[in-house]
């Protein structure tokens, strides 16, 4: 990778600067001086490089930047939900405090650990790819996928419980019961939860809960698909220490999924008190 673009450019630049116009393609006019041409791109790098890139480094830099810009759009996507959450939490703090006991901190904590651990295994998978250790890459990708599946299974158990408790927002019988046990927030304790108004506000909480975790769960699902594709490709010996950009990019995506959960967990499960039940 020694010959960089700049070296090329500098070389050709010095040779053509004397008569920049003469080197112009077309050369119909003298306008447009200021551009010189250098020899076309040279083929270097033994591995996959798309035709529009000059060097693998350029390709990697482009992929990396593209991925990060994509993640920035993801921040804004989830940001819309977080904004709604913040606004309604500020408007109806008591109702929201009464709603979170319906979330099981037990499942939430298990899932948090599952995702954090999967982030670790993903980071180790990227490391394995960087060092060209195919066997370890397979292993860590497998771990990550398994943990992602654990997350989804736990999530579906929670969803089932919520549906049984009439907390599915699409249901005609939606009703949020007063949570069992002591209510720590004195303001919240005074709320008449059975009034239609309070049920409407509770429904907003669960609307946010379902849509936010739903969208997050969808991202986990996509992650499983991507990770499985990596796993299959790795078994086909596609990646090496010279080429593993997809592993790294999927890693970024997976850490982002973890990142979202890191915020969802306290907002949806913990504010209002952690309640340990299954």
């Amino acid at each position: 990778m020694a010959d960089t673009h700049a070296a090329q450019a500098a070389a050709s630049g010095t040779t053509t600067t004397g008569t920049p116009t003469s080197a112009m393609s077309g050369s119909d006019t003298h306008f447009g001086a200021g551009y010189a041409v250098s020899a076309g791109s040279t083929a270097h790098g033994a591995h996959a490089r798309a035709h529009q890139f000059d060097t693998p480094q350029q390709q990697y830099a482009a992929s990396n930047l593209g991925m990060w810009i994509f993640l920035a759009t993801e921040v804004m996507t989830f940001g819309g939900f977080f904004l709604a959450y913040i606004v309604y939490r500020a408007l109806y703090p008591e109702t929201f405090a009464l709603a979170s006991p319906h979330q099981s901190a037990t499942w939430g904590t298990i899932n948090t650990f599952a995702l954090i651990l999967s982030s670790l295994t993903m980071a180790l998978a990227v490391h394995a790819a960087q060092t060209g250790n195919r066997r370890r890459l397979t292993m860590f990708l497998g771990f990550t996928i398994a943990l992602a599946c654990v997350f989804l299974v736990v999530k579906s158990i929670e969803y089932t419980t919520h549906i049984e408790e009439n907390l599915w927002i699409g249901s005609q019988n939606f009703h949020m019961e007063r949570p069992a046990g002591e209510i720590v927030d004195p303001e919240a304790a005074r709320v008449d939860l059975d009034s239609t108004v309070q049920q409407g506000r509770a429904k907003i909480f669960f609307f946010l809960y379902w849509t936010m975790t739903g969208l997050h769960g969808f991202h986990v699902l996509i992650g499983i698909v991507l990770l499985s594709a990596l796993l299959i490709n790795n078994l086909r010996k596609v990646y090496s220490e010279n080429y593993y950009t997809p592993v790294e990019m999927t890693g970024l995506y997976w850490h982002f999924v973890d990142l979202v959960w890191i915020f969802l967990f306290p907002l949806l499960y913990l504010l209002g008190g952690a309640h340990w039940h299954i």
Partner: protein, 340 residues
Amino acid sequence: MGVGASSVAFRVDSLFWWMTMLSVLISAGIAIALVTFAIKYRRRSPDEVPVQIEGALRLELTWTFIPLILSIITFVWAAILFVQMSRPEDDALEIFVQGRQWMWKAQHPTGQWENNELHVPVNQPVKLSMTSIDVIHNFAVPAFRVRQDVLPGRYTTLPFTATRPGVYNIFCSEFCGAFHSGMVGRVTVMEPREYQAWLSGATQMESPAATGQRLAQNLGCTTCHRDDNRRRAPSWVGLYGTQETLDTGETVTVDDEYIRESILYPQRKIVAGYARPSIMPTYQGQLDETQLAQIIAYIRSLGGMNQQQPGGDSSVPSTDATPGLEPNSGAPGGGAQDEP
């Protein structure tokens, strides 16, 4: 900007004309410069290359700061005026306004209500407290230079002081459905004496049908009950005395009693083909029996098969006097348009 009839109109207009003047000067300057340069420096030979001017920092700063200063002046002017416009006077006469698809309803402190009409005394600060029962509307009186959204579930206030007696338009200025443009009304600015007289309910003599017609317009009936819009509500022309099939399969004759019932309890008998629950609001409590008879007289005057004498005074006793008892079978609070 049209006739100004409120205490802020002149000040808003002054700001408007100040900005217009600036805009005309700036646009004219740029237009003249563009045209002059384009003609004066037009290309005279195909190979012409002009002097290259890269820029001038001092000039850039000049045309950054002059607009900036003008902007700040205009902003401050507008902001001060806005705060004055939006803060109601302490002694303001408070009138409660309710918007709904597609009519305005105003209620005076003494309890009088009026639909699509607003009577206010001249030179008296007024504060409208407004809310909507369905979607967002906007109460706009161009002559007063005021405008404020009317939101469901919340109050917004619109203060103004009318300064010139007369009749001015009220428009709904936020799109609120197909008959948005029919949601218009009139504000009548009166001398305080006349306003008091109006409050005490002085009306002139006219035929029941004519009064009924006026009522029907003021109440917003004719927003939906119009000739060209049979889909939302039946036209009244030729309606009286006809036989209609209800959505329950029964038939009913459109007579005085049916019309009265439909005005007071619109959900009871709905003609087949119209939505249930009906979009028609109840007018229970808004119309006394005389006014009901006047509206029926007006409908009858529009023609039909069975020409009867008006039953103006034959009050039909209502068996069920609970206000608003017609169940809206929609989802809780889902609004008047909810399907069951």
